[in-house]
C-alpha cells in the first residue's frame, strides 16, 4: 500500500469512518464453483431502489472504496443501473465477476462509468481444470475473452487465482496468462468455510507442501528470505495491534441488507432494511465488540511467537467458534511460511482428538423471516 493510502486508512480509523465496503448484489451465479462459500438461491435480495438508497447512505457515511461482488454481479438485470448510481455518488468502484456475461457492449459501458478495477476469477490456465472447478463448460474461454475485452477498453483487470487441491500446481500458468493478457495477478491459498458454517469444503485446501511452494516462490512473494523470516515475537506495542480492517474501517453488506464486519466474518451486526447504515456502523454492539479486540485480548495468539506477524483472520477465528481465538488456517500458513509452529498449531497436532470438527449451532438471524439467511456459528471447536 502507498503511504497515502495508509495515511487515509489511519485517518478513517481515527474518525470511525467506513472507508471500504463490499456490497454483494446477489448470491445467484452462473457458475457452481466447488469451493464457493455461498448458497445460490435468492432469499429476497434488495431491490434496485433499496440498493440505491443504501448507496446514498454509504456515500453520506464516508465510504470511498466500494467493492461490488456476488454471486455473479451481472446476474442482476439492474447491474448497470446500480453501477451508474454508485459512480454518480463518486465511489471508487471495484468489481468482482467471473466475466462470463461480459461482451463488448458491457466492457465499453464499464469503461464509460469509470470503474477502478475488475477482478476476474481464473482457477487454471487449463480449461479442463478451470471448467471442472466452475462446473461451467467453456467458462475459461469466456472469462479470458472478457479480460481481453476489458483490457482493450484500457480497464485495469486483476486475475484472482484461488488455490485448492484441484489446481495447486497451476498458479504459474495463471500468472503467465495474466502477463500475456496484460492483467494483474493475485493468488489466495485459502478456502474458507461456507457462510452458513458448513466446513466440508475445507477439505479442498492445499496441503503444507503446496503452501510452502507458494510462500517460497520469488515470483509471488519477492524476497523469499524476508517473507519467510522467523517471527520477531510479541512486544508491548504489538499487544495493542488491531487484527485487521474488518469492522474498523471496512464492512460487508449482503444482498439481503445484512451487515457483517467482513464477507469472511459472518457476525450479524444489523440490517439496512431496518436500521440506517451509519447507525449500524456507529452503534452496533457487535461491531463495537469487534473494534474492542486487540492482540492483548487473544489468550492464545498473544502468547504465540507469530502474534505480531500472523495473517490471522478474525472471521475465520469466529467461524472456528471464538473471534478472540486463533484461526487454524492462518496457523497453518504461518508454519508453512516460517517452519515455526504456532502455539495453536502445536496444541492441535499434539492432541488432535480435542480439536475435532466443531458442530454447527444455529443462532438467530437479524433479518425478518422472509429474508432469513440462516446464520450459523460453530462451537465446541478449537478454543483459545
Amino acid at each position: 500500500m502507498s503511504g497515502l493510502v495508509v495515511e487515509m486508512a489511519a485517518k478513517a480509523l481515527k474518525l470511525n469512518i467506513p472507508l471500504s465496503v463490499q456490497l454483494d448484489l446477489t448470491y445467484r451465479c452462473n457458475e457452481r464453483c466447488i469451493h464457493c462459500y455461498l448458497d445460490h438461491d435468492d432469499h429476497g435480495e434488495m431491490t434496485t431502489a433499496e440498493i440505491k438508497h443504501l448507496l446514498d447512505q454509504m456515500a453520506d457515511a464516508g465510504v470511498f472504496y466500494l467493492t461490488i461482488s456476488g454471486g455473479e454481479i451481472m446476474m442482476r438485470r439492474d447491474f448497470f443501473d446500480i453501477l451508474e448510481h454508485a459512480r454518480a455518488r463518486l465511489f471508487c468502484v471495484k468489481l468482482k465477476t467471473n466475466g462470463v456475461l461480459i461482451r463488448e457492449k458491457e466492457a465499453r459501458r464499464l469503461r464509460e462509468l469509470g470503474v477502478e478495477s475488475i477482478q476476474i476469477s481464473i482457477y487454471s490456465h487449463r480449461a479442463e481444470v478451470h471448467d471442472a472447478i466452475t462446473k461451467l463448460p467453456g467458462s475459461l474461454r469466456q472469462s479470458i475473452e472478457a479480460v481481453r475485452l476489458l483490457r482493450s477498453q484500457g480497464l485495469l483487470v486483476r486475475l484472482a487465482n484461488v488455490l485448492m487441491v484441484q489446481n495447486a500446481t497451476d498458479y504459474r500458468g495463471v500468472q503467465a496468462l495474466a502477463a500475456e493478457l496484460d492483467a494483474k495477478f493475485t493468488i489466495d491459498p485459502t478456502i474458507t468455510p461456507m457462510m452458513d458454517g458448513d466446513r466440508s469444503i475445507l477439505s479442498l485446501n492445499v496441503d503444507q507442501a503446496a503452501l510452502q511452494n507458494v510462500f517460497r516462490d520469488q515470483a509471488l512473494v519477492g524476497n523469499v528470505e524476508e517473507f519467510c523470516a522467523p517471527p520477531p515475537g510479541v512486544d508491548e506495542d504489538a499487544l495493542d495491534m488491531l487484527p485487521c480492517s474488518a469492522g474498523h474501517t471496512a464492512c460487508y453488506v449482503s444482498p439481503y441488507g445484512d451487515v457483517y464486519p467482513c464477507v469472511q466474518f459472518p457476525l450479524p451486526s444489523g440490517n439496512v432494511r431496518r436500521t440506517k447504515f451509519v447507525d449500524i456502523w456507529r452503534d452496533s454492539p457487535q461491531l463495537k465488540e469487534v473494534r474492542s479486540i486487540t492482540l492483548r485480548d487473544m489468550p492464545s495468539c498473544s502468547q504465540c511467537t507469530h502474534g505480531a506477524t500472523c495473517t490471522r483472520c478474525p472471521g475465520l477465528a469466529y467461524l472456528e467458534g471464538n473471534m478472540r481465538g486463533p484461526s487454524s488456517q492462518d496457523c497453518e500458513k504461518s508454519y508453512a511460511r516460517t517452519g515455526i509452529p504456532s502455539e495453536n498449531y502445536k496444541a492441535r497436532h499434539s492432541s488432535p482428538e480435542s480439536f475435532s470438527s466443531p458442530k454447527l449451532v444455529q443462532i438467530q438471524g437479524l433479518q425478518p423471516a422472509e429474508h432469513a439467511l440462516a446464520a450459523h456459528v460453530v462451537s465446541g471447536g478449537a478454543s483459545a
Binding site: A59, A88, G114
Partner: protein
Amino acid sequence: MKNHQYVTRSTAIAARALGDETMVMSATNSTLFTLDEVASVIWEAADGVTPLEEIVVNKICAQYDIAPGTALQDAQTLVEQLAGHGILLLSDQPLVPSSVSRKEAR
C-alpha cells in the same frame, strides 16, 4: 478586461470527504490525491459557473486570513495542477454543471 476562470470537477473521478480533507482518485489512472482543507473548499465550490476569483473571495478570504491576491495566485496554481491530472476542468467560459450534485463529495 481580464477573463474569468471557471472550474468544475471531472466526472471521471472518485471522491469523498475525509474529515477536513478530500480524497480524490482519477478514474483514468487510479492516481490518488488528497486535498487539504483549503483546497477542499475550492473543490467543493467548483460548480463550473462561479468564477474562481469569486470562490477565492467568498470562500477562502472570508474564512482564512489571507490576502486576496495571494489567495487567487495560490488557487490558480492549485486548479492548474489538478486540471493537469484531469480531475478538474478549466475554462474561460462557464462550464455546464456536471450531472453529479455538488454535495456528492461531502
